[in-house]
């Protein structure tokens, strides 16, 4: 197995893309459960520039979600330094978070759910309303403004969650496997939708995913992580031009090359991880 990623065909992202919005330096994080300490993240150093889309890719148990929660300021690291826009991170309108399970408020309408993210901003009621209308339009949910989350399909629910994360116009968008709960078609449409919204917004995105294809299709950089303790193994420049046609892109040589490489690395990680269900198995076809 080669240990270095194949070189990108196109040149990597231009250096003047933007300043370093998120910086993590030698970050360690562990959790204690029932008296037992588990190291979740070990020695994470990572930086993300404005306007870049970064995927965190890796098998279960490599601390990807924990890394997002650290970057949002929901939890604090045991040691190491985290800076967002030059300061220790604090949850708020500067950072949008999209959760895997949507986390919509069941007793609030679509409109009120989206507006919810503006409550701590100090914007007036009328202005919040107006902005919510604009973002509902942006994600195509205007017709459902007065519906409750229980009445929406999975794809619509995640669009509400996306609009809620985008409405404060955050500099940083953190997304935790946002499309994992969706069916394949909806997922593909949501990826296209996300690309469209992100290109307007120009924020930095940290995108956690299990899917190799999704990581390549969406990202500028892929951070490959390994499990127990969660650590960064490699940062790969995707080097595919933008704007991308998500469907046609899959037959491009660079896409196939990256996919083969990443699949092989992840397979090795899973087969050599003692905590994995597939530990030590020979998955080569007979």
């Amino acid at each position: 197995m080669s240990s270095a990623a194949p070189a990108p065909v196109a040149s990597a992202a231009p250096p003047d893309r933007g300043r370093q919005r998120i910086v993590l330096e030698n970050v360690f994080k562990s959790f204690e459960r029932a008296g037992q300490k588990t190291q979740v993240l070990a020695d994470i150093s990572l930086s993300a520039d404005d306007g870049t889309f970064i995927s965190l890719l890796g098998p279960s148990g490599c601390g990807k979600t924990t890394l997002l929660r650290l970057a949002d300021g929901l939890i604090a690291p045991d040691s190491g330094r985290i800076a967002v826009s030059g300061h220790p991170p604090r949850p708020g309108p500067e950072t949008g978070f999209v959760f895997q399970s949507f986390r919509l408020i069941p007793w609030a309408t679509v409109s009120a759910n989206i507006e919810f993210a503006l409550l701590p901003t100090g914007l007036g009621r009328a202005e919040r309303r107006e902005r919510a209308r604009r973002y509902m339009d942006l994600v195509g949910l205007t017709r459902f403004a007065d519906s409750y989350p229980g009445e929406l399909s999975g794809g619509m629910g995640q669009r509400v969650a996306l609009a809620r994360a985008l409405i404060p116009e955050p500099k940083i968008l953190l997304m935790d496997e946002p499309f994992a709960a969706l069916d394949a078609q909806t997922r593909e449409l949501m990826q296209t939708e996300l690309m469209r919204l992100w290109s307007r917004l120009g924020s930095v995105v940290l995108f956690v995913t299990h899917s190799v294809d999704e990581a390549i299709a969406l990202s500028d950089k892929i951070v490959l992580m390994g499990p127990r303790p969660g650590r960064i193994l490699e940062v790969i420049d995707v080097g595919l031009p933008r704007p991308r046609q998500l469907f046609e892109m899959r037959s491009e040589p660079r896409f196939i090359e990256l996919r083969d490489y990443l699949w092989n690395r992840i397979r090795t990680l899973v087969l050599t991880d003692p905590a994995s269900d597939f530990y030590g198995r020979d998955l080569e076809p007979e």
Binding site: R90, P91, P93, S101, P106, W107, P120, S147, G150
Partner: protein, 246 residues
């Protein structure tokens, strides 16, 4: 459609009642028609209205006090974990003790009047409201709380926007239970302390075998129960319309 079945069932009940009145001896069960006539007579001469007023004032005052004490207390117990954990054992112990056991003490302390009666109602109604409010605050969705934190909402904001609305369905269940037990305790209080109100009439007519009047009082109590629980159900469907929507 449900209304039609409900009316049909009522016709069936009245028919059974009629049959029973004809077959049980010694006039222990009055006929529906005789009961109806007695009822209109009692309404006309003011006996029923007076007793109803006395009972309702006890019931509603006791229930109101139970609500204004139990809901804030349950919220505070749920919001401050240490306080909740300290008090919950005693709350469960008190709610398992039959409240009738306290009546002699209440009479000794407060006498036989209005204060004693509303205390009996209050003691009965407060427990289910308190326990359900507490449970509702504890059952709040931690994922929604993390979402609200991530949005940047303050602790107070999270409490007001997520925790409280999330516990409303629990609180309403508590109100329904509390309202029912409160009504039971109203009658209990009127039987055990100074004999007044609908409970008083029950005792007087029951002890003197005036079964027509007695039946009128029982039916009046049943109707109060229906009105109260239906009102609360209406409130519930208004407050948690999102659950049944779609």
């Amino acid at each position: 459609m449900t209304t039609v079945y409900r009316v049909l069932f009522m016709v069936l009940l009245i028919a059974l009642w009629q049959i029973a009145s004809m077959n049980v001896g010694r006039n222990l069960i009055p006929s529906p028609l005789a009961t109806f006539h007695t009822g209109t007579a009692m309404l006309a001469d003011g006996r029923l209205v007076g007793a109803l007023g006395a009972s309702l004032s006890i019931y509603l005052t006791g229930l109101f006090l139970a609500i204004v004490i139990a809901i804030p207390l349950g919220i505070v117990m749920g919001g401050i974990r240490l306080l909740g954990k300290t008090l919950e054992v005693y709350v469960y112990a008190l709610s398992a003790t039959p409240r009738v056991a306290f009546i002699p003490l209440i009479i000794a302390l407060l006498g036989l009047g209005f204060e004693a009666k509303i205390t009996v109602v209050l003691l009965g109604a407060i427990m289910p409201i308190l326990i359900n409010t507490y449970a509702g605050v504890l059952a709040v969705d931690t994922q929604l709380i993390e979402m609200a934190r991530s949005v940047g909402l303050s602790r107070t904001g999270i409490f007001v926007r997520i925790v409280l609305p999330g516990s409303v369905p629990f609180i309403i269940v508590g109100l329904r239970l509390g309202a029912t037990i409160g009504l039971i305790n109203t009658v209990v209080a009127e039987l055990y302390t100074a004999v007044t109100g609908l409970g008083g009439l029950l005792a007087i007519y029951g002890n003197s075998f005036r079964m027509e009047e007695y039946f009128v009082v029982v039916l009046t109590l049943a109707m109060i129960g229906v009105v109260v629980t239906e009102t609360l159900r209406l409130l519930e469907s208004r407050l948690s319309g999102w659950k049944t929507a779609g």
